[in-house]
Amino acid sequence: MNPPETAAATSTQVAEAPAVPNHYLNHSKGFLSWALTLDHKRIGLMYLVGVLGCFALGGIFALLVRTELWAPGDTIAGMFASPGSSPQEVYNMWFTVHGAVMVFLVIIPGVPAALGNFVLPIMLGAKDVAFPRLNLGSFYLWVIGALFFVYTLFNGGVDGGWTFYTPYSASQATNVIPALLGVFILGFSSIFTGMNFVVTIHKLRPPGMTWFRMPLFLWGSYATALIQVLATPVLGITLLLLIMEKTLHVGIFSPEYGGDPVLYQHFFWFYSHPAVYIMILPAMGIVSELISVHSHKRPFGYQFIAYSSIAIAVFGFLVWGHHMFTSTQSPAMNAIFSAITFSVSIPSAIKVFNWLATMWGGSIRLTVPMLYGLAFIFLFSIGGLTGLYLGTLSTDIHFHDTYFVVAHFHYVMMGSALIGMFGGVHHWWPKMVGRHYNGTLARISWALIFVGFNVTFFTQFLLGSQGMPRRYYDYLPRYEIYHKISTVGSYMMAAGFLIMAFYLLQSIFGGRKSPANPWGANTLEWHCTSPPPHDNFATAPAIEDCYDYSGIDYDAKIGGYTSRANP
């Protein structure tokens, strides 16, 4: 199969729907038609299944961690300890696996690779990504990386925290090397996806799709893809150096061989801080779509939002040292990193104001995706504002490496990145599978997740300001009450996610059929049938203003919207 070409046709018609609609799901059948597919939609869907599966796995470990923390002393970890190990080692493995799985297998590939793959080419008006084979390759690298993680799980687990700080990570006998190799391979998967998206957006825009006509999700994805391509290699280098040190005893990070442990932290955060933006930028892109579509009003300050994505991506490379204010980094470096960190907070604040202004005067439908969009704005505001305490040099000294940081990054990585992703899943689900999920169950599940999330993590801000350090198996009894509340919240969230799993699965088999445009959106994917045809567009689509809702009318008979200009 060749890379899709963008025909320069001018027809505005989408392919006539045949009697039994032919779409990407029933286009071909059999295991191989999926396993070897080059269709970005199928690859996206496979990614989504994988990512959600890993989310369940990471979630189980989170629940184990929260349950252990119900009371000081041993709670449940002792039951999982084998004769050679102690409960605290079991617990340490739990939080390491939770963190590594959630970061490397769920959030980083979550939006770009799963939703981005499905949506990006259609939104752009292309038939596929620029390099479909590379895309499939990226998926298999993800699978192999995931298998490395599963291997370590069944082989005694891995310890060290998802940050794998040296010299501890280099000094111990657990499966650090297979886990790092897994992360290394996942890095390549991420680079492949990023490269693919950059080239697709540069080269496959159909005539008329100028940069400033692109939907904001594409701007977010573009900024993300740039970071993936530029930052991930540093992670690869770091991990190789670490593996070299561990196996060949070359002195790089371990003082024992003449290395410097703080150097590792520089390398690690040079990737991992931008990685925070790999997680959050695409979710911001989704939210820009959600708020505009479900308010049926064009995004307020489109250009500001678009530029702020790029600004965040650029500044994001210059702030890694804010993770190291207490690491023996020099005072001058601390000051510089603190100053630059504050500058990143501005574009994030601008986005929040723009989203609110988009809602102002709109025609808002409180659909399930919109509820996720609103939850995102609320949680992201808390996540962003609490970042101010950590960027300020004096207060960070108190909060660093306490539950305050844990709460802050869960607000940003789960409350924002993942909630944004779930907003996207609920928004595009009718497009992906052609069916609606049960709205009532979805609202109950949303409420449980939203409330449960705040109960779990807001409490952790209090824990952190009281001085509870992170990664503690046991703790001073003065922290007990907060831990109890936090654990209860985590069970509420778990209930919410179980309900979500139920109604999403149920919708595939028994859901109401979705019209092409159930939400009244005007970006290109909603002009295709639901689910979209195999090659997206029979002829190159006409590119109009994707945020002009004036020509989109509601049709009660089909329970969806139709477009006057582009029926």
Partner: protein
């Protein structure tokens, strides 16, 4: 150095800002004072650094509230105010408003400049200790703290233990832990013998990583205790360091008077030459050996290192010892001879030279002088093969 000139430059710049800030601080003094509602959530403030940090905390909390409350109100209000039936068109089609957007960019920018500056200024006060500070050398190793005072008094940390009803963590011995004289600045000079650790006392608002191969330091002046008893705090390790990271605590005492501190110092250094075994037992605790070595006949207790119970006189077969250390170059030569005087001296003085089978990490070197070594070995002998 380039770094320090930047710091001075920033400091000069700050000179301009500090006039404005002084004004701001006098305006807000009531709001930012210790114990105001804006410092809710912070632990008790017990050192000279707590005041500045808490006032920054209060300042940020006020700013956050000013932003967060209107955002949330707008979010909820808009969601209901502009809720419409399907198909209804939006009331407005405004696409942007440049003056508004510039305003909400510039105002936060100004605010974060102030925020950066106050944080910078207060953090700078925390780097260099006053010249007259009382210096304690802190050694961190997996998973214990040890404190060496200028008087030569050395004390291991006290990790305490959970009370049977799990409602409190109790200290085990009031002489263990970090003891501090009242009313003087304290400077801690810190080294790690193995991996990263971090020294943290929430009530003092101090935190500093302890890095192997480097020396780091921090300073603070603790508040004077109100009563006649020393104030007790917990020192916590906040950098993940492996299995017992969460047990790497120590009690910290601030003495109410110099006499009380000196009494402790006398107890901490006193050894009775007529009673070497008892002195050895004291050293076992003070020097921190107790955090890794068990002395119970059934071998229960800490087991990072081999138990001392029954160690004395083990035969070469029972006592598998190799030259080298598990992580260093392994020569693997099995030692012959029993666990006697020479072997014990060598393994305490030069822990990486000899390595006992089954222990994955070598022991950290602990400073002991000849007399102390004698007492320790007498103590190990007394626990000898029964």
């Amino acid at each position: 150095m380039a770094g320090s000139s930047i710091t001075t430059a920033l400091g000069d710049l700050g000179g301009l800002g500090s006039a404005g800030l002084a004004w701001l601080e006098t305006r807000m003094v009531g709001l930012l004072a210790e114990g105001s509602i804006w410092t809710t959530g912070m632990p008790a403030a017990k050192s000279n650094h707590a005041g500045p940090i808490d006032s920054d905390y209060a300042f940020i909390t006020i700013i956050c509230t000013i932003f967060f409350v209107p955002i949330t109100i707008a979010l909820v209000y808009f969601a209901f105010r502009y809720k419409k039936a399907p198909g209804e068109k939006a009331e407005s089609d405004v696409s942007h408003n440049t003056p508004l957007e510039v305003t909400w960019t510039v105002i936060p920018m100004l605010i974060v400049v102030v925020m950066f500056y106050i944080g910078f200024r207060h953090a700078n006060m925390m780097y260099a200790a006053p010249a007259d500070a009382y210096t304690v050398h802190v050694t961190a190793s997996q998973w214990s703290w040890s404190f060496l005072h200028p008087s030569g008094a050395q004390m291991g940390g006290d990790i305490g233990k959970l009370s049977p009803d799990r409602k409190a963590r109790e200290t085990t011995d009031p002489d263990l832990g970090l003891h501090l004289p009242p009313g003087v600045p304290i400077r801690l000079v810190m080294n790690s013998t193995d991996v990263l650790h971090s020294f943290y006392i929430p009530e003092f608002r101090v935190k500093q990583d302890v890095v192997p191969g480097k020396t780091s330091s921090l300073w603070f002046t603790p508040d004077l205790p109100e009563g006649d008893e020393p104030d007790m705090y917990w020192l916590l390790c906040t950098e993940y360091c492996g299995k017992d990271h969460s047990n790497m605590l120590s009690a910290v005492y601030v003495h109410p008077t110099m006499e009380s501190f000196l009494q402790w110092q006398t107890r901490a250094t006193a050894l009775d030459p007529d009673n070497p075994v008892e002195s050895g037992a004291k050293l076992y605790v003070r020097k921190g050996c107790a955090t890794c070595h068990s002395v119970a006949p059934d071998g229960s207790g800490p087991n990072t290192g081999p138990t001392w119970s029954g160690l004395w006189g083990l035969s070469a077969d029972e006592h598998q010892v190799h030259e080298g250390s598990p992580t260093g170059p392994k020569r693997g030569v099995a030692m012959t001879g029993e666990a006697g005087e020479e072997y014990l001296r060598e393994s305490i003085r030069n822990p990486t030279a000899l390595w006992r089978e089954g222990y994955i990490q070598p022991m950290a070197a602990v400073k002991v002088d000849d007399t102390e070594l004698f007492f320790l070995i007498e103590y190990i002998k007394s626990l000898g093969k029964q």
